[in-house]
């Protein structure tokens, strides 16, 4: 089957590893070949966490520069930093709520203007779905549900070979029981937001 390559970038602690795991469980339900690799050595120390997710008949678990069909960004600066993974046909889905790195606070660099960033990215790729995912996660009941908001948006974009039902089943079985309701609500809010942002 066709190969779909998805890069997920986030800041340590934002929950992207759980998001990619849920996608994998959904792929298992869908009977779709799935592989991913993650670089998470210092995830708990506030560094960048990157997952490369590959659906379909490929063997590699990493994605080359320009090789991503979809870039799912949990944080606008990290979305920007990962733009080298995109080509002109890529779909970019990003949360717009910034999490400035510490270097900015101590004057080593400036956080880019998010609105300008949105325009720059939109001009480079086929499709950009950008919205404040953190607000939606809070609306769902927990800022930590940002990962589920973004999963909802990803599924709505119709770019990966798993369905909303499969992802929701994976959320029900693979996320902590106490968070399932919030997670499902977050997923739906993200799904709706992506429809509006398109």
């Amino acid at each position: 089957m066709d190969i779909t390559r998805l890069i997920i970038v986030a800041v340590g602690g934002q929950g992207n590893l759980l998001a990619s795991k849920v996608l994998g469980e959904a792929a298992l339900l869908a009977g779709v070949p799935f592989r991913m690799s993650e670089i998470h050595g210092m995830a708990q120390r506030g560094g960048v966490v990157e997952s490369a997710v590959v659906f379909g008949d490929a063997n590699s678990t990493i994605i080359s520069d320009g090789g991503a069909d979809i870039l799912l960004g949990f944080e606008p600066l990290e979305t920007m930093r990962a733009m080298n993974k995109c080509n002109s046909e890529t779909t970019v889905i990003t949360n717009l709520s910034p999490l400035p790195p510490f270097t900015v606070a101590i004057g080593k660099g400036t956080y880019p203007d998010v609105e300008q960033l949105r325009k720059l990215i939109a001009a480079k790729v086929k499709r950009l779905l950008a919205f404040d995912g953190l607000a939606l996660a809070k609306e769902a009941g927990n800022p930590m549900a940002l990962n589920m908001v973004l999963l909802g948006a990803l599924i709505q974009s119709n770019t990966v070979p798993v369905t909303a039902e499969q992802v929701k089943t994976a959320i029900k079985t693979k996320t902590k029981p106490a968070f399932v309701d919030v997670n499902l609500k977050a997923f739906d809010l993200g799904f709706e937001a992506a429809a509006k942002a398109a």
Binding site: G47, N59, S60, T61, I62, K85, T110, L117
Partner: protein
């Protein structure tokens, strides 16, 4: 029950590579496992540790890799199936027992897993541990995928018992930290009780015995070479006059490249899964069918040099290449594009790599390096030492752990680091050679791992420096594994002893030992200052539990601080501590109450006394 202990053959699970390996060990009937934690291997041992509480498996976190391998050697020579796992540089520490264990061999199957880290995602070097198989004469297995890793591990135990030798099992980060579907096999119940039959002429490696054992090892290598020729893990795929010889994850990139380049009918691939001893005859036969061959392997030209030598012996003159300009690098890890490009260049076909968007007009992205956590006791210690040493010409040798992150600005408290334990021993050299004040830093787990012997040396040879032992009560960097100083009742585990760092240091003969709580800033600075004046070897034990760990054990009550309007914006807090709880808003420093854990270190250094606990609302 632990998900990897469920005996449900045929079930398909999404597993991390390290989980698949741990499951493979369980399916192989492993009875005994030892380790010292190290990324990218840590989740293998973490899973085995957890499973050992629910099964007959014996598991231990040993003090270092050499100890782990020696403990394992005893168990394996008592007939138990034994696994010993570590990161690649850990095998340097365990190299001494490994070399001679190869002479002695094992009775129960033994797998020594080395997790290499090409591109150094979390390591100090990217050494290629395949060479240890050549150096020791031990068989080497290398999986290419998560699912294969599990199967191959079971094969490794069988191979080990067939040969009576430990088997080296080499993974790379992209196996350890990849996830894929794995079909479970049946679990073999472990044989947990062993016995040792004395045979000094076999097991006591005095020269006269070792001379015979080396003969035995060479005979075993010859036997292993025969096995390698027919091993199912050395396999040929495809047809064509172009050849690719590869190993490990490079196999995946090469296979994808063949599809992408449309070379399906022109390239044949030899994937080497058992790479020591190499299947010489198989390789020569492969070469005979090829016009030119590209060797695709990350790291050093281990296969390439061997293949070239085999071609020379066989009188073959075809072109064989691997590392080189426009081909492949010895540096870092590969990607599908790197391999596709090298194959296109070498085989003379066109390749259009994916065209990345132009990022030149994007604003410069501020860096996001990993940082010491909010409330991390290391930050407090570094601040206090820096203050206490003001005006001194100092050198700060450091060691391996979270605290190495203190080398970043603004703390900048690490000047030299080569390996586990080097802080202590290199301090001896720096202080003797320069006469400057040397203050070195080592973590508690690292101190037990390989800091103690350096400290003994310092006392015996009468060196002059101050060692700061950062005692945060856990092996934090690799995911909070226990070490000999940890109170195991925190894990609700019984049957463990406990070693006091303070008593060890005193017993070694350190005459000046100071214990500080780094959260008490003024007191710490004063105590450190006094200790730094001591001539000879002095030790400061800075004791405060890792905040992440304390939070997970619910041992701290988080009480966030805030910056009140007394703040005059000196920014001393943010500029000197660089705690990630700080941020700037409209040019003013703020504290994120969701990140702050209330260590109160910043509150103690604010000249305006403007940092106060958040008042409870309502």
């Amino acid at each position: 029950m632990h998900k990897l202990l469920v005996d449900n053959p045929g079930e398909k699970l999404l597993l991390l590579g390290n989980e698949a390996i741990a499951r493979g060990a369980i399916e192989a009937g492993v009875a005994f496992a030892t380790t010292y934690p190290g990324t990218p291997s840590s989740e293998i041992s973490l899973n085995l540790f957890q499973m050992s509480h629910q099964s007959d498996l014996y598991f231990e976190y040993s003090t270092n890799e050499k100890v782990a391998l020696e403990v394992a050697a005893g168990a394996a020579n008592s007939g138990l199936r034994t696994m010993c796992m570590m990161k690649h540089v850990g095998l340097n520490v365990a190299a001494d027992p490994l070399m001679t264990l190869a002479y002695v061999g094992v009775k129960g199957g033994m797998v020594v897993l080395t997790a290499d880290d090409p591109a150094m995602f979390s390591s100090q070097n990217e050494q290629d541990n395949r060479y240890y198989s050549k150096l020791s004469g031990l068989p080497l297995l290398e999986p290419s995928s998560v699912a294969e890793a599990k199967e191959m591990l079971i094969y490794a135990f069988d191979l080990s018992e067939k040969l009576g030798e430990p088997v080296l099992f080499r993974t790379t980060t992209r196996i350890n930290h990849s996830s894929a579907f794995v079909t479970l096999g049946p679990i073999t119940p472990p044989q947990t009780k062993g016995d040792f039959e004395k045979d000094p002429l076999r097991y006591v490696t005095v020269p006269a015995v070792s001379r015979k054992l080396h003969v035995r090892l060479l005979e075993n290598m010859a036997k292993a070479a025969g096995i390698s020729e027919t091993s199912p893990y050395n396999l040929v795929r495809g047809e064509g006059k172009f050849g690719v010889i590869c190993n490990g994850v490079s196999f995946n990139y090469a296979t994808d490249a063949i599809n992408e380049l449309g070379l399906g009918d022109r390239v044949r691939v030899l994937r080497v899964g058992m790479s020591n001893p190499l299947p010489s005859k198989m390789i020569v036969d492969f070469l005979k069918d090829c016009e030119k061959v590209l060797v695709v392997e990350e790291g050093e030209p281990f296969l390439e040099e061997a293949v070239k030598a085999l071609a020379q012996e066989a009188g073959l003159t075809l072109k064989i290449a691997g590392k080189g300009k426009d081909l492949l690098s010895r540096l870092y890890e590969f990607s599908p594009t790197i391999v596709s490009q090298a194959m296109a260049n070498y085989f003379g076909v066109k390749y259009d790599p994916p065209e990345a968007v132009d990022v030149a007009d994007l604003p410069e992205a501020p860096m996001r390096p990993p940082n010491l956590c909010a409330g991390c006791s290391h930050r407090a210690t570094y601040y206090a030492v820096k203050k206490a040493a003001e005006g001194m010409e100092t050198i700060y040798p450091s060691d391996i752990g979270c605290y190495t992150l203190g080398f970043l600005p603004p703390l900048q408290m690490a000047d030299f680091l080569i390996c586990m334990g080097s802080s202590v021993s290199s301090s001896c050299g720096f202080s003797r050679a320069t006469g400057k004040k040397v203050i070195s830093f080592i973590g508690d787990s690292t101190f037990f791992h390989s800091g103690m012997t350096g400290l003994v040396n310092a006392i015996f040879n009468n060196h002059n420096f101050t060692l700061v032992i950062l005692d945060n009560g856990t092996t934090a960097m690799t995911g909070h594994q226990p070490h000999p100083g940890v109170d195991m009742s925190d894990f609700n585990l019984e049957g463990y002893g406990r070693v006091s760092i303070e008593e060890v240091v005193k017993a070694i003969g350190v005459k000046k030992v100071t214990v500080i709580n780094p959260y008490k800033v003024a007191k710490s600075i004063e105590a450190i200052r006094e200790t730094l004046e001591f001539e000879g070897v002095s030790v400061i034990i800075s004791r405060q539990m890792c905040t992440l760990y304390a939070k997970s054990l619910k041992k701290i009550k988080v009480r966030a601080f805030t910056i009140t309007d007394k703040c005059k914006n000196h920014r001393i807090c943010i500029d000197t501590l660089a705690c990630p709880a700080f941020y700037l808003e409209g040019g003013k420093v703020r504290i994120d109450p969701d990140v702050c854990v209330g260590c109160a270190v910043c509150a103690q250094i604010c000249p305006e006394n403007a940092i106060r606990p958040v008042k409870k609302s309502g």
